[in-house]
Amino acid sequence: MRAILERWTVFVLGVAGWQVATMAADDPFFPTPRVIVGRMYDLWFSGPATRLFLTDGAVGNVLPSLARLGAGFAIGVVAGVALGLAVGRSQWAYDVLDPVLQFFRAIPPPTLVPVFIVLFSLGPQMQIASIAFSVLWPVLLNAADGARTVEPVQLETAAVFRLTTAERLRLVVVPSALPKIFAGLRLSLSLSLILMVFSELQPGAADGIGFQLVEATTRFDYETVWAAIVLLGVLGYLLNMGLLGIERRVLSWQRPA
């Protein structure tokens, strides 16, 4: 309780300091947080109560961004975990594929956005593919690493109890790989946000928070630019907290890794 109080005190003090500094600077380039929050309210959260106060702007830009993020993240995670567990369970497959996988992880994902544009043309598929690509590699490598380092005693016990392959995977391999997988998910989440925004900054993008952001810069509308940045920060914070919450629940049976 004290920690939460302390944390929000720091937050309030930080915002107050920002307000004072921007008021003193009185520069249109750096609007005050009050103005930014006002703009956020006007743009996204002043809609009718029947629509959870979301405006057309929120439905037209924020929700599509989040939908693409969710789709890309889900595809990347499912593919990454499945392939990672498969690769990690075979020493031979791991040795063969590790250098290749390390290379793919080392590629800065935005460099492939032009290729995805050519392959999928502009639109949600290209954006989802970019996000999924950025999510895939950290999850895959961490899942493989986790599946590789299962305690031999646990596997031998499973063999003694004659567990089927499916049971062994569900009861032994997955649980011991989970902490590593979650570490990969945390990395992937911040990468996926970068790709979400970057794929929306592309000329020709039709909607999304990133689209609103870049469109506002062409009008020198600094308040909207700042509002979009703060919104992205809040979304990133909430998603991160959500992931940590899930991690804590799922891994509650063991000490945090």
Binding site: A3, D95, F103, I107, P108, T111, P114, I117, L191, G236
Partner: protein
Amino acid sequence: MPGRATVRRLARGAVGVGLVVGVSEALGRAGIVHQDFLPPASTILARAAALAADTDFLADVRATLTAWALGLLIAVGVAVPLGLVLGNIPVVSNAVTTIVEFLRPIPSVALIPLVAMLFGTGLEMKLTVIVYASVWPVLFNTVYGLRDVDPVAKDTLRAFGFGRLAVLWHVAIPATAPFIATGVRMAAAVALILAVTAEMFGGFGDGIGIFIAEAANYPGGTTDTLAATVWAGVLGLLINTALVRGERRAFPWARPR
């Protein structure tokens, strides 16, 4: 003299690289996707090899690496001293982790349009977003590592009459160094992503990202995009490998990862 296990691992890794190149070659030649859209591996690798001797491309690589190195250096130069000072005062240390938690989730790509309006699209813009993205992992790991310092060791030195600075120098810094090194490695990867991304958005001057963005504008440029992406991946891989090796050598007692 490398051991037999190492030789076998390297051989298997080479098989994996060959396998991936072979499969992508076959896919490219099979004509499922138009060759201009997804060229076969041999075309990409031949172009990548040609780029290694291309002075214009080498100037691009130099520009990207310069921005990367400068940005990372500034981030480390800011984050480590700040973390060491702030991490030693418990109340401030909590406040800092709170502020970091709120600022870190903002995807740094979102800052590119704003910073580009402020500084134009040159080195200053690149450095600003690189520093913003790479400060957090280093700062967070420094503060986090300081918390982990053995209190008995600190008290022992204090009991012998050593001052605050001596304790910091002889106990806290050596104990925190492995954590800082891990933070730097994470920051190095993010810094490369941001360097390339900022260049792709900017579009003038030298840089791997600019090369890629320009290649996307002419028909059949996908080969150039992918060849440059291969080099970006190789750079990322070399940087990561060098840092992991460095960590193992400098801190043999702390297992990286």
